[in-house]
């Protein structure tokens, strides 16, 4: 596997279909290096060993998710502050969860009767959907109407871009990945919005798709690389391609999975994992003032962040 480049973002041509861009042809799929997954695992275990040795024996593993990686690498204090606060309900979060539910429904059944009703019904039966359905019920008529309109737009992008997958693609939605390290003291985990393809029998065969209802963000590519790493560690074979589908625009960023993507994810996981272990051991979080300080839930207790915000306001 050589150096890979992300394909130029482009609106998925409905006729050509996203699936052919994701699945490619069998000739394009590289052979799997049989030692790759084991080597990556050893690398991670070695790199985390010192931090793991300092962990308290409390039986609680250090959990490494994409959110934890992104937050702790920006600022440890931000991670701690976010961890201790319940996720606030918002229109953006509602849109994201509803679009996820509709995407899943479309891929599974190929049929959506009423986007609003269907998404609310999906949230209502999910184990953690009660708070969101209550939030949706509390919306005023205008907010609800706006969100309905947004949903319709996003759904139009989904249905015009994604065909109902063939049974041979073995589509799985919301597939959980868990990679325990260091005897389970550190657990890497994630949930893939869509996985396509049968497990590898020697060639890379699986495609991973993340669905985003918001705007393009810098960390999306890192998130995908993290999932590619998790899938490699789990299945013994890297995915063939990874992609982000933006439901607001219909854009599909597709990227082949090379060794560079996996090692960049590994370095991020190592850096984040070491910090998370240190925090789990009771260390004081380091504060790293940054442009996101103004939005941090821990700002009121963070002089360094307040100073950063004041300076930014005065600039």
């Amino acid at each position: 596997m050589g150096v890979t480049m992300c394909e130029a973002a482009s609106a998925a041509p409905p006729g050509q279909g996203v699936v052919s861009r994701l699945r490619g042809t069998s000739a394009e799929r590289p052979e799997v290096d049989a030692g790759l997954a084991g080597g990556l695992r050893d690398w991670l275990e070695d790199g985390l060993s010192e931090a793991v040795a300092a962990l308290p024996d409390d039986g609680n593993p250090v959990r490494v998710t994409k959110e934890a990686v992104n937050q702790v690498l920006v600022c440890e204090a931000h991670f701690v502050a976010s961890r201790d606060v319940a996720r606030p309900m918002s229109i953006e979060l509602a849109r994201g969860l509803m679009v996820d539910a509709l995407f899943r429904q479309w891929i599974t059944t190929g049929d959506i009767a009423d986007p609003w009703e269907d998404a609310v019904a999906a949230l209502a039966v999910s184990s953690d959907g009660a708070e969101m359905t209550a939030f949706l019920s509390s919306l005023g008529a205008d907010a609800r109407q706006n969100l309905r309109g947004e949903l319709a737009t996003h759904l139009e992008r989904v249905t015009s871009s994604w065909p109902h997958p063939s049974p041979s693609w073995m589509a799985r939605t919301q597939e959980r990945l868990i990679v325990p390290l260091a005897g389970g003291q550190v657990v890497l985990s994630g949930v893939i919005d869509l996985a396509l393809g049968t497990p590898s029998s020697g060639r890379a065969s699986v495609c991973i798709v993340e669905v985003k209802s918001g705007r393009r963000r810098i960390e999306h590519r890192g998130d995908l690389h993290l999932y590619a790493l998790l899938e490699t560690l789990r299945s013994g074979a890297p995915p063939f391609r990874i992609a982000t589908f933006y439901t607001a625009t219909g854009e599909l960023d597709v990227e082949p999975v090379g060794r560079d993507a996996l090692t960049s994810a590994l370095h991020r996981v190592l850096a984040a994992g070491q910090r998370l272990c240190r925090l789990h051991s009771g260390a004081e979080p380091q504060r790293t003032p940054n442009p996101l300080c103004a939005h941090c839930t821990g700002l009121t207790a963070c002089p360094a962040g307040q100073k950063r915000v004041k300076e930014a306001a005065g600039a």
Binding site: E117, D118, P165, M170, R172, G184, R234
Partner: protein
């Protein structure tokens, strides 16, 4: 025993599944049964009046992992896509195995549609016994139904792609009946289940699908499945091995079931039963 997996993994796992199984002497099984009865009987006799303990895989797991939770009163069961994915998924995989569906997604759709029909016929008094999830599912709108289908499809696809089915000697049972064993004369029942059952060298081989990732107590939990199956098997032989599959973690554990493994499983069963009996006595004492 952790299994080192090479690609294709389904082939490696199936190799392990269908590998030769050593015999277990019938008198060893008989001795085990007598021992379990003699050690569980005084424990079960302590159960509060009117209480029946059904020690299933879930309760066993709680006793082993978090015994402090045994004394808590369990909340009501609430159906959800996650709660019924296994029930729908095993029937769907069985359909795939019998070539009655194009794949797991198609199979799940058919199973769910049949469930709706059965729920209606049950309501009409046709004498049909619908699966436990069918009535709840039938009352859902399209969005809720799709969430159920999606969850079951992912689960079924993971099991369907985990094994090289054509290489497993028939008969292969997917889902099938749970194993039940009543302690004679007492209010204690053991219950376990396996997702796949096959026959190798005249002994059963069980495959159990588990969520999450394996840990230090996983061997004990797989051994519990083997022990209950052995006790419930009556004159039949005990299973020869149990394979645990953790699809989310891509890991497999194999527990060979010999006389010694069953003895250890019996020790652990007695300890788990004692934990539950104590917890139920405490619950009664608190009046909860």
């Amino acid at each position: 025993m952790a299994l080192t997996l090479s690609l294709p993994r389904a082939s490696t796992v199936t190799d392990e599944m269908v590998a030769s199984v050593p015999d277990l002497e019938p008198d060893e099984l008989q001795r085990l049964r007598e021992r379990v009865v003699s050690e569980l009987t005084p424990l079960a006799a302590e159960l509060p009046e009117g209480v029946r303990l059904v020690l299933d895989g879930y309760r066993y797991r709680v006793a082993v992992r978090a015994p402090e939770h045994c004394a808590e009163r369990a909340g009501p069961f609430i159906p959800s896509p996650a709660a019924c994915r296994r029930a729908v998924g095993v029937v769907a995989v069985d359909r795939c195995l019998r070539r009655r569906a194009a794949g797991p997604a198609d199979a799940v759709a058919r199973v769910l549609a049949a469930g709706v029909e059965d729920a209606q016929r049950t309501e009409d008094g046709d004498g049909v016994r619908a699966p436990w999830w069918a009535r709840w599912y039938a009352e859902l709108g399209p969005g809720g139904r799709a969430a159920v289908a999606a969850e079951a499809t992912t689960w079924a696809t993971q099991l369907w792609t985990a094994l090289a089915w054509e290489r497993i000697p028939p008969p292969v049972v997917v889902g099938g009946r749970d194993d039940w064993w009543d302690l004679p004369g007492q209010r204690l029942t053991l219950r376990s289940r396996a997702e796949v059952r096959a026959q190798v060298d005249r002994r059963a081989v069980l495959v159990v699908v588990v969520s999450g990732a394996p840990d230090a107590t996983s061997r004990s939990e797989l051994s519990f499945v083997a022990l209950v199956s052995a006790l419930a098997g009556g004159a039949r032989s005990a299973p020869g091995r149990v394979l645990g599959l953790w699809p989310a973690a891509g890991q497999v554990r194999v527990v060979p079931v010999g006389a010694r493994a069953l003895e250890v499983a019996a020790d652990e069963l007695v300890a788990a039963t004692a934990t539950w009996v104590d917890a139920l006595i405490e619950q009664r004492g608190r009046g909860t």
